[in-house]
Symmetry: none
Subunit: 306 residues, 2 copies
Amino acid sequence: MTQNAKESFRQRGTGPALAAKVRTLAPTMPRSMQRVAEAVAADPAGCAQLTVTALAQRTGTSEATVVRTARVLGYPGYRDLRLALAAFAAQQQSGAPASVTADIAVDDPLADVIAKLAHDERQTLADTAAGLDVSQLEAAVGALTAARRIDVYGIGASALVGQDLVQKLLRIGLIAHAHSDPHLAVTNAVQLRQGDVALAITHSGNTVDVIEPLRAAFDRGATTVAITGRPDGAVARYADVILTTAVRRESELRPAAMSSRTSQLLVVDCLFVGVAQRTYEHAAPALSASYEALAHRHSPEAPTAR
Amino acid sequence: MTQNAKESFRQRGTGPALAAKVRTLAPTMPRSMQRVAEAVAADPAGCAQLTVTALAQRTGTSEATVVRTARVLGYPGYRDLRLALAAFAAQQQSGAPASVTADIAVDDPLADVIAKLAHDERQTLADTAAGLDVSQLEAAVGALTAARRIDVYGIGASALVGQDLVQKLLRIGLIAHAHSDPHLAVTNAVQLRQGDVALAITHSGNTVDVIEPLRAAFDRGATTVAITGRPDGAVARYADVILTTAVRRESELRPAAMSSRTSQLLVVDCLFVGVAQRTYEHAAPALSASYEALAHRHSPEAPTAR
DNA sequence: TCACACCTTGAAAGATATTTTCATCACGCC
DNA sequence: GGCGTGATGAAAATATCTTTCAAGGTGTGA
C-alpha cells in the first residue's frame, strides 16, 4: 500500500489536477458525493484540516460517503486525499491572489477583467491537460491518422473549433470536412464507413444536432470520437473514443463558450500534433509548403520592420 | 484542538520555515528525536508518505519519539506535521519542470505533447494579459459599444477568431459582421463611416488581405482597431487602436496558429466582456434569452443524469 | 401502475493509525 | 556505588479511517 499511496500521491498531488478532477467527475457522482467533492474543491485548505468525521458532518453526509468520494477522485482513501488537499492549498496560495479567482463583476475595471479572464483560461488549460486520458487521445490520433476521410461536427462556438481542426488536418494532407449544418452533417455522415472517422465537439455532451450525425456515422461503422465536457452525456453513447475537456463554473459575464472553447482547442492541438508526429514524413513538407504558399499574401515590409 | 491545529498549520505550513526550525531546534533535542527531525528535513516529500510507525522504523526509533518530535517542531501531533510536510513539498516543486519548456519533438509521447502544449498556451495567455494596454482596450471597448456597425476582418486561423468575436457581439445585440473574403471585405468596408468600427485580426501584422479593408475603413473615417502580434507591422498604419497579442517562438510541430490564436481569443473575450459590462442593461437579458433559445437543442437527459 | 433491479446512503463494526501511559534504561552527579 | 533526572520504546488507549451491510430511493420495464 505504501507504494500505491506514494504513486497516487505523486501523480495527483500536483496542484490543479485536483480541482480538475472534481470538476470533471462531480457531475457523474451521486448527490451526496457531489456535496463532498464540491466542499473539497471550494475550500481545499479548510478541508485539509478536517477528519473524515468532521468533513462528513460539514457536508451533511457520512464517513463512508467521504471515503467513497476520495476513492472516486483517485486516492486510495481519505487520508491521501487530505494530504493532497494540503499540498494543493500550499501550491495555490503561492500562486494567484484570491482576487483573480473571484467572479467578474459588472463594475470591474478592464484591468481586472483581463486578469480574471486570463487566470480562468490558464486554469482551464491546466485542468484539461491534467484530465485528458492519454490512452483515449492515443486511440483518437491513431484513428485520425489511418482515416480515409474525417468528418467533424460542431455547432455554435464548437463549430469554430471544428473548423480549426479541419484547417489543420487539411494542411498536413488529410481529408477532413467540418459540418455545422445538422442536415448536411447527417447526409454526409451516412457516407462514412469503417476506417473513417467522425468527430463530434460538444461542450454539453447533449447537443442533438451534433449527436445525430455522430450516431449515423457510428451506425455505419466509422470510428467515432467525442470532444466533450460531459463524458457522461448522451454523446458518449455513440463515441468509441471520448476526450474530456475541463468544465468550469460559468456566470453571467463569463459564458461557458469562453473556457470550454479554450479546452477544446487544446485537445484539438494535441490531436493535430499527434497526427503530425505519426505522419511526419509527409506532414513536415506539407506544412512548409503551406507557409510558403502564404508568403506573398503578406506585405513586402520586412517582418522585423521599424 | 481543532482551532489550535488550524492555526499552527497556517503558521508553519508555509515553506522554508520548516527546515529552519529543524536546524534551530535539533541541537537541543535528544538523540533519537534529532534523527527524526533530520530525516524530516532531508526528505519532506518522502516523509509525508509515511505513517508514524513507518517513520519510526526508518529512523530506528519508536512512534512515541516521532510524536514527541512533531510536538517540539510546533505541531499538535504527527498528523499535522505530516500535512505540513505535504504542503511544504508541494510548494517546493511548484515550478514547472524544465522538460515542458522544451520544444516538441517528433518522438515525444503524447503525454509530453499535452504537457508542452498546455504549458505553452498558458504562458502565452500570461504574456498577453501582461502586455495588453488597458487604455487601448478601453478605447476599443468604447468604440465597439458606440458603433452603429462593426466589421471584422481575419484570414485563415484569424478568421475563426473573428467569427468568434462576431458571434459574441451578435448575442448581446450589436450589429457585427465577419469577413474572410478579401474582396467582399473591401466592398463592405467602403460602406463604413465615422462612428463605425473596423477590426482587423492578424498575427503577422502584415496580412495584405486584412490590411486592405482596414485601410478602406480608415479612409472612410471609421474607428479602426487591430489585434496583432506585431504592433510595428503594416497594419498599425491604419489602426486607431492597437491591441497587442503575445508572440511566441514557433517551430515545426508547433505552428504559430496555436499560440497566436489563444492570445487573440483572450483579447476577444476581454473586448466582449468590456462591451457587455457597458451595455449590461441590454446585454444581460439578451444573453439569457440566447441560452434559453438553445435549450431545446439539447437532448432531454437531465444534466445530472446517471 | 406495480414490481424488480440497481444504485445510493448512513450506521455500525472492523481495521489502522496516532497518542498516551508507564516501566525501563542510561547517564551524570553526589 | 547509589540516586535522581531525563530519554526511550512497548503496549494500552484513543482517535481516525475503512469496510460491511441493510435500509431506502430511483428509474425501468412489464
